[in-house]
């Protein structure tokens, strides 16, 4: 699908529920967000923040309800093609370098970017100097930056961030704040966090387990 920035993206979650065994993690969750919105998802451990983001991403099926991503009035068939995903526990290939990760990701996303473009993108996340080091040598914060770089590559209209602030230093947090700020101009984001002070980065707050 070709899209322009004048048409708005809309994410609709309609009475979502997820049950593991006999336990409902959440039920009856409805949400509507559109281009320009950053939704902060808060809640204690086990409240279902990550589960909600996985459902929105299409990585986990909801027990009930549905998720729709619309481009204007038109619902997109494959949400996964339009989203960026960054999760704290999202693994990277330990034996690949940051550059190889981004090159691979750009390729599977359907592009053939130049080496310069890839290095420039890594530089945005302060990874250019260590672009050719294997990920196993990276610190927690650097891995998180790489996940962010992958998630935001191609400026996906829907950005899903599951505790991306975990393990980040102050410059990493500033970077994250900038990513969320920029996302508003062409799409929307769901940002799950345990840190109450980061709720100010969003303009909608979804309190899970409340």
């Amino acid at each position: 699908m070709r899209y322009t920035r004048r048409v708005r993206w809309v994410l609709e979650c309609d009475t979502l529920g997820k049950r593991f065994g006999v336990r409902w993690v959440f039920r009856g969750l409805s949400l509507r967000a559109e281009t320009g919105n950053v939704v902060v998802v808060q809640g204690g451990n086990g409240s279902g923040k990550s589960t909600l983001l996985r459902i929105v991403a299409g990585l986990t099926a909801p027990t009930e309800g549905r998720v729709i991503l619309r481009y204007g009035a038109q619902a997109v068939a494959t949400r996964m093609d339009y989203l960026g995903w960054c999760a704290t526990d999202g693994a990277l290939y330990r034996e690949l370098t940051a550059y190889e990760h981004l090159a691979w990701w750009a390729t599977v996303r359907g592009g053939t970017p130049s080496r310069e473009a890839l290095l420039e993108w890594l530089a945005r996340f302060e990874l250019a100097e260590r672009a050719h080091e294997r990920v196993r040598a990276f610190s927690t914060g650097m891995r998180q930056r790489l996940r962010l770089a992958l998630a935001t590559w191609g400026q996906p209209p829907l950005l899903l961030l599951d505790e991306p602030d975990a393990g980040m230093d102050s410059s990493g947090l500033a970077l994250l704040e900038r990513v969320l700020y920029e996302q508003r101009t062409f799409g929307l984001a769901l940002f799950a966090t345990n840190r109450a002070e980061h709720a100010r980065w969003g303009d909608l707050v979804l309190e899970m387990g409340a």
Partner: protein, 205 residues
């Protein structure tokens, strides 16, 4: 593939298993003349032993490391399936390059027409690789993948192995093997088509 190549322990484990199997059977059968059927069985046993560790190196290790989500988000299911299939096929070719000469040296020479071996090896490889890739994919997302792997793999693998042994025996005895080859080809093609279709359904929950 690059990750596996740099790690190497998956490849080394497979080679070790295959080489140890050939060496142990060679030692156990020292001074004994193996029947043709036994020779055929030993050959495929060595290949299978070498391939089994790769079962866990495909989809299962992606799930356990958590990288499966990256694949789910980034790539089409068919690309993921055939990528893993290609990985297993590469391993099969590497294993064959090591195990076949070793088998000829330590167990018995491969008598019969070379083209017949080539056809059998090609079809057998495609069949085995498809079964193993499919089984890995089927159980990777489940909680009790260890136990389930054996239960799922055994019934799918057994017909293919039996047909491969029968065809090998026929080549060694210089008997016509077209019927066995037809069986291997039919089973392999059916599984390949079915596997790709099933994978599309199960890969994204």
């Amino acid at each position: 593939m690059l990750q596996e190549w740099r790690l190497r322990h998956g490849l080394m484990t497979s080679l070790l298993m295959g080489v140890v199997t050939v060496a142990a059977l060679s030692f156990a059968s020292l001074g004994v003349s193996l029947s043709v059927r036994l020779q055929a069985g030993v050959l495929w046993l060595a290949v299978l032993f070498g391939m089994f560790p790769a079962l866990a190196r495909g989809f299962i290790s992606e799930e356990e490391l958590g990288t499966a989500d990256l694949l789910r988000l980034g790539a089409r299911p068919s690309c993921v399936f055939w990528g893993k299939w290609l990985f297993h096929l590469t391993l099969y070719i590497v294993l064959s390059a090591v195990l076949v000469p070793l088998y000829m040296l330590m167990i018995a020479p491969l008598a019969g027409a070379w083209w017949a071996w080539l056809v059998l090896w090609g079809l057998g490889g495609v069949g085995l690789v498809t079964v193993l890739t499919l089984c890995g994919a089927l159980v990777a997302g489940t909680a009790s993948r260890g136990a389930l792997l054996a239960v799922v793999t055994f019934p799918l693998l057994l017909p293919m192995v039996l047909m491969l042994i029968a065809a090998t025996e026929q080549i060694l005895q210089a008997r016509p093997m077209w019927q066995s080859l037809q069986g291997i080809l039919g089973y392999g093609l059916t599984l390949s088509a079915g596997a790709a279709w099933i994978f599309e359904k199960i890969w994204r929950e």
